[in-house]
């Protein structure tokens, strides 16, 4: 497969996952906002900005931000590469770039959303109802696109690159959410921190169904090491490893050595027991996991001669 096309598919997978997660987190936050006290909202929004965008960039542009500013920045601001609008552009660009390797249905799904967004963009004021409706529609598009990939794509390298993009993005994001929320433990109660973490990672429903404990170490261990939860870091890393081995047809090749080594190392780290750690050690552990997840992307790109990330001009 052409490196440039593989690169586009990889980023298509990443951006699609990112936009879906960001939309989910923003929707959750909008719901939270209705009930929480004002001081908490600031902390939550700040954390969300950290996870979805760039806190520093935001604050250089907005001195005394309002909720409207934050929503504009997260949803519509083309200068924020991680805003919903910018990510949709990037997804469409990468899909267009790889059009002859993806099902028509996948292209049409994203293109239809893009056209609707161009025709009727979400504009201020960002009311809860209107914004939630827009983000829900976006999430539906993302889920349908995933369904199209799963049901229509040949299980070849194209499919594998999209999936690896998705799992790298998800593992990194789960680790990041966890890390940022642990950093808020001094400001918020442990209960709130952990409930919000589960909510933002979209694992609340699954966790509540499978476990009763609300202890932070249990929740952290779940999000890091659970082998059945598709939002956990371990689940994502195992998926990546499995897919890389498929690409390499189960044999260890010199060019993929670094990648498999990094995956093995990360996998071992993920299996450590959070219960034997202090609060500070747990935070340190999660920070290391996040850093290692972040390094996976560049190692993967180097292994398969991928180009630099594509951004819409």
């Amino acid at each position: 497969m052409l490196s440039r096309v593989a690169d586009s598919l990889y980023w298509l997978g990443r951006y699609a996952e990112r936009v879906e997660t960001n939309a989910h987190m923003t929707t959750s936050q909008l719901e939270n906002m209705l009930e929480h006290h004002t001081p908490h909202i600031d902390t939550f929004w700040k954390t969300l900005l950290d996870i979805c965008g760039y806190q520093d960039d935001f604050h250089t542009r907005y001195e005394q931000p309002t909720t409207e500013d934050i929503l504009y920045y997260l949803v519509s601001d083309q200068q924020n590469f991680n805003s919903v609008a910018a990510l949709i552009d990037s997804i469409r660009f990468n899909a267009k770039n790889a059009r002859n390797c993806i099902p028509n249905g996948l292209w049409e799904e994203w293109n239809t959303f893009y056209l609707a967004m161009m025709q009727q963009p979400l504009t201020q004021p960002y009311t809860v109802l209107k914004t939630t409706e827009f983000l829900t529609q976006l999430r539906r598009t993302a889920l349908t696109a995933t369904g199209t990939i799963d049901s229509l794509m040949t299980r070849d390298e194209g499919f594998q690159f999209i999936k690896i993009g998705k799992w790298i993005e998800r593992s990194e994001k789960t680790a990041l959410i966890l890390l940022r929320m642990l950093e808020q433990q001094d400001t918020l109660t442990t209960d709130t921190t952990m409930a919000t973490t589960l909510q933002l990672t979209n694992a609340l429903e699954e966790y509540a169904r499978r476990f009763r404990s609300r202890k932070s170490e249990d929740i952290i261990q779940f999000l890091v090491s659970d082998s059945k939860c598709s939002r956990s870091v371990t689940y994502g890393i195992r998926k990546i490893k499995r897919t890389v081995l498929d690409i390499e047809q189960e044999t260890l090749q010199p060019h993929s050595e670094d990648l498999l080594f990094a995956l093995d190392e990360l996998e071992a780290l993920l299996q450590q027991n959070a219960h034997n750690m202090t609060v500070a050690e747990r935070k340190e552990w999660v920070a290391t996991i996040h850093t290692k997840c972040m390094h996976l992307g560049p190692i993967f790109s180097k292994t398969y001669y991928l180009t630099v990330p594509m951004l819409v001009e």
Binding site: S3, N97, W107
Partner: protein, 483 residues
């Protein structure tokens, strides 16, 4: 529905003053069965499906490129079998002669020696590349894909308006117009038996792969790619469609590299050798080492690989010398010279303006004639005398006097018309037809081609960048119409 339709004054494809022509009768009767609301709904559904699928072209303006769909008009151009057979034979003949000319012009130049084509017209042509003098191309074929633009005059005779031998685009629209027609207007096919387009892409793939470069070992399968300028190119959809249908990778210049005169593709598993490049970028951008140094679209040293016979580039480099509007005048002579035949499809009468007497004659008649820049296309730098303002005519007078060799003149032809349905009504619009000729070991012609329509009432410009639309083109199978 057609009570206010004026079929007089021009050759109309579908209607006479007394109703539809015989081969349009079943279609006409079918229209009458639908209500205006139904027609409107279908029209809307067809247009939005083009947009959703991203079947768009890019128009460049002040704020970068804007994606647009080519408006689709559902009334097809229906061509009876015997008429088409003549067109087909004429197209094969013309492209055969043009190919012979290209081969000759880059080798012996017999046609110049014979005094048929003026030497300066070749040597001063900006698209004549000395860099490919004497280069042998696979199958001696310079034209893998040609798009020949035809019009019909007021008697309904087909004439060639323009030859496109470099990178003719629009083939994907032929298919998409047919798909839209089948999906949204299936009832109109009732009582017709028409030539399908299904087999032609396979023929095109076969023709492509038959251009094996000299150095490719006999037993080895040729590996081909389609080279595009990328997602921002105006014809990107055309490129995507053809690459997908011919099952070849769609690549950009930065995906290719040349090592020791061999072209390689950068893949996730390293470099892969490329044998055939169907390029959709212009000659000037192909190789920054040989042509435009600032080209970011091309591949450095690709011309060395081409000259060494390690890679085939289709269409061949240097075809522009044969398809500009000044050389067009000599195509009938090329047919006589190389094939010893009379042209089956005629040219439109064309005047070169470097001869003073002709030039003065033309300058006196700028209000009657059409003036075209020999190197321009897409309807740009063109004067349609009867429709132009005195100021514009004056501007063209100056342009002609400044660079007479740069312009040609043609009589204003009463281009044929066909009904179009837009905004809830039927009205007559001028049309033309781009016929696609594919050459490899065999020559094939796509049945029909791209019918382009000037949707602006009274306009003669059919180009999609200037408000033109597309129509499906039906070639009837012999004696199958139950009219």
């Amino acid at each position: 529905m057609f009570h206010s339709y004026d079929a007089s004054g021009f050759y109309d494809e579908m209607l006479t003053q007394n109703g539809p022509k015989k081969h349009y009768t079943p279609f006409y009767e079918q229209i009458l069965k639908l209500t205006h609301t139904e027609l409107y709904e279908k029209h809307k559904a067809a247009q939005s499906s083009f947009l959703r699928q991203g079947i768009t072209f890019t128009v460049y303006g002040e704020e970068g490129g804007t994606e647009r769909t080519m408006p689709f008009d559902f009334i097809p151009i229906i061509i009876p079998a015997d008429t088409w057979q003549t067109v087909e034979a004429g197209m094969k003949q013309r492209v055969e002669a043009l190919n012979a000319f290209l081969h000759d012009v880059y080798h012996e130049q017999k046609i110049i020696e014979a005094g048929i084509v003026p030497r300066e017209l070749v040597e001063q042509n900006p698209y004549y590349y000395k860099q490919v003098d004497g280069v042998s191309v696979p199958l001696n074929n310079h034209i893998f894909l040609a798009g020949i633009d035809l019009i019909r005059d007021e008697e309904g005779n087909y004439c060639v308006l323009e030859d496109n031998l470099r990178n003719p685009s629009g083939m994907s629209y032929v298919y998409q117009n047919r798909f839209a027609m089948r999906k949204t207007y299936p009832e109109f096919f009732h009582n017709y038996s028409i030539e399908t387009l299904d087999k032609n892409l396979a023929k095109m793939q076969q023709a492509l792969l038959s251009h094996r470069p000299q150095q490719l070992p006999e037993q080895q399968e040729a590996f081909a790619v389609l080279l595009t300028a990328g997602v921002y190119n105006s014809a990107y959809y055309d490129h995507v469609f053809l690459a997908k249908e011919m099952n070849i990778p769609l690549v950009e210049g930065r995906d290719l590299t040349v090592i020791d005169d061999i072209v390689y593709l950068k893949t996730i598993r390293g470099l892969q050798r490329v044998d055939i490049i169907y390029r959709r970028i212009d000659d000037d951008y192909l190789d920054p080492e040989v042509f435009l140094a600032e080209s970011m679209l091309g591949v450095p040293h690709i011309m060395n690989a081409y000259k060494a016979g390690n890679v085939a580039i289709l269409n061949a480099v240097g075809n522009g010398v044969a398809d500009d509007k000044a050389m067009y005048i000599y195509v009938p002579d090329m047919i006589r010279f190389y094939l010893n035949e009379e042209p089956i499809i005629q040219n439109v009468k064309t005047y070169r303006l470097d001869d003073e007497e002709t030039r003065n004659w033309v300058l006196e008649r700028l209000d009657e004639l059409v003036i075209k820049n020999v190197g321009a296309s897409g309807g740009y730098d063109m004067l349609i005398g009867p429709h132009a303002t005195p100021a514009l005519r004056e501007k063209f007078r100056e342009k002609i006097l400044e660079a007479p060799h740069q312009y040609i003149a043609q009589p204003t032809i009463k281009l044929s018309r066909a009904p179009a349905y837009q905004d809830g009504r039927f009205y007559p619009c001028h049309i033309d037809l781009r016929v696609f000729v594919v050459r490899g070991e065999e020559t094939s012609i796509l049945p029909g081609g791209l019918s382009r329509v000037a949707l602006k009432e009274g306009s003669l410009v059919v180009n999609s960048s200037q408000g033109g639309g597309g129509k499906d083109t039906w070639i009837l199978k012999e004696a199958k119409v139950h009219a």
